[in-house]
């Protein structure tokens, strides 16, 4: 970490002189890291890398179906307008929108479906990808959806919807495949939607149906997350379901 990778700055010497100079200064460059040994060791102890890190990305095991059904009943008892089938369809639709944004490298496409915080990180990552020329290739579709976890407490409701996806996905930079591989594959993604415990499905439909949960207008969201018509903040999860997290198994 303390020895960053990347091409050398233009001010550095080149050729034999450069190699000689590098040899001269190398031990001192290494010794410069000595004061940071403690931090390096702590970080190493608290971090899993490589293959071990990939296991952290595995999808969370599905909850017991009876527990999921009970939690969904609880959601319905509090919100008579809640329609599970319509919600899962809407999440599949949100995935299409996010996929489109990734392909185009244009985060604004996904603004109406992602929670405020998730969208900001999404913008950050797309900027980072654009700076390095990373391109996402392939198309895929949702072929199934299942609620694998549901929870409701005094503060919030949350559903984990596992989408079965089929298609092709891989990412390339400088002609190198960074993730995935060409060819048709099947995989699963968990899309977690969340809302405050006192939120209820608006009569005409809400964020995931493309309508403002506050004024009912067709959802046009400004970049700050507010409805273009009534200025209500609609993507904080306080009023309606929002896509709160996207989890993908290693690929």
């Amino acid at each position: 970490m303390l020895r960053p990778a990347g091409p050398p700055p233009p001010s550095e010497r080149t050729g034999c002189l450069g190699v000689l100079w590098l040899l001269v200064k190398m031990p001192f460059m290494v010794l410069r890291a000595v004061p940071h040994t403690g931090a390096l060791l702590r970080r190493e102890a608290a971090t899993d890398s490589g293959r071990r890190a990939r296991t952290w990305e595995e999808l969370t095991p599905a909850d017991d179906q009876a527990a999921v059904a009970a939690a969904l009943d609880e959601v319905k008892s509090h919100d008579a307008g809640f329609d599970l089938a319509a919600t899962t369809r809407a999440v599949a639709g949100a995935r299409r929108v996010v996929d489109q944004a990734r392909q185009a490298g244009d985060a604004s496409v996904a603004r109406p479906v992602l929670s405020d915080g998730l969208w900001r990180v999404f913008v950050l990552l797309l900027d980072e990808r654009a700076a390095h020329g990373v391109v996402r290739q392939g198309t895929s579709a949702v072929v199934g959806a299942d609620v694998v976890a549901a929870a409701r407490d005094q503060l919030a409701e949350q559903l984990r919807i596992r989408l079965a996806c089929r298609g092709e996905r891989y990412e390339v930079a400088d002609g190198v495949v960074l993730r995935g591989q060409p060819g048709q594959k099947d995989w699963s993604e968990d899309w977690i939607i969340r809302r405050s415990a006192d939120a209820a499905t608006p009569a005409r439909g809400g964020v995931l149906s493309g309508l403002c949960p506050q004024c009912g207008a067709p959802l046009q969201v400004d970049e700050d997350g507010s409805c273009a018509y009534c200025r209500a903040l609609v993507l904080s999860g306080g009023r309606d379901w929002v896509v709160w997290s996207i989890e993908e198994a290693p690929w």
Partner: protein
């Protein structure tokens, strides 16, 4: 002549000593990597316990396998009484930005966003200093090169798992504090050859704000235009208005990252 010879000999001696120390340090780090990243879970556990035992106060916390303590829910309710606009879903959502900013600083060596959302005290904590050292290492290396981005490291994705509030403390030393524990997986790539760099870490994230501050339900997470002159910001990373240089306001209802504690299984 003798003095010159002695001086040259002295310099060579120091240089040889420097090489010896540097090689010893590299061997030590290699051994650490072999133990820490090897196949043996037992060796890794011993290493983790040893590091956790020797870590200075305020840098590492042992992982508790219990759920969040009962006082957390009560603390959040108490906070909501004082601040009716506080919403846990929105708060946790905004903490995700800190995770992304931390990943950008640690993996891509770009700390601009992290600096905007942290307290000055964060940079005095052991883990704040470690992040600062990583970024400073890059800046020293990059020298006068234009642009802050490290072209040799790339952040592909940041995954954020199982956030849970583990502590709420209100009014202590004039501040409200919420601790969020979560796992984050950073998926990246590095030159040469864009080889994969995957890291997964569990941390406690402490967010603070002055006691008495309230959430404005109408305040957006990130304003897109300057409140002073109306000019649009160019990107999320802009710290000030590009036109009138007015500082960009705090965007997290006053909550700022004050410290991170690495979680070590012991």
């Amino acid at each position: 002549m003798v003095i010159a010879r002695d001086a040259v000999g002295g310099i060579l001696g120091i240089y040889v000593l420097a090489w010896a120390l540097a090689l010893a340090f590299m061997v030590f780090l290699t051994l650490v990597l072999v133990v820490s990243r090897g196949r043996s879970d037992m060796a890794r556990d011993i290493f983790r316990r040893a590091v956790a035992a020797q870590a200075p106060r305020g840098s590492v916390r042992a992982v508790s396998r219990d759920g969040p303590p009962a006082h957390v829910a009560a603390g959040i309710r108490e906070l909501q009484v004082d601040d009716p606009g506080f919403d846990l879903t929105a708060f946790l959502d905004s903490t995700r930005v800190a995770v992304g900013a931390y990943a950008m600083a640690w993996s891509a060596e770009n700390d601009r966003l992290l600096r905007r959302i942290t307290t000055p005290g964060y940079w005095q904590t052991p883990n704040g200093k470690a992040v600062a050292a990583v970024v400073a290492g890059w800046k020293r290396y990059a020298g006068g090169r234009p642009g802050a981005a490290n072209r040799g490291r790339l952040l592909l994705d940041v995954s954020w798992r199982q956030p849970e509030v583990t502590n709420v403390s209100l009014g202590k030393q004039g501040a409200d504090r919420i601790t969020v524990r979560l796992s984050s997986a950073i998926i990246g790539a590095a030159q040469p050859g864009w080889h994969p760099v995957n890291e997964a870490t569990r941390l406690d994230w402490d967010f603070v704000r002055p006691t008495g501050q309230r959430t404005d339900p109408a305040a957006v997470l990130l304003p897109r235009t300057c409140a002073n002159c109306g000019s649009p910001y160019h990107s999320d990373l802009d710290d000030a208005c590009p036109h009138c240089r007015t500082a960009r306001p705090d965007t997290h209802a006053g909550w700022r990252l004050d410290r991170t504690d690495l979680m070590v299984d012991t």
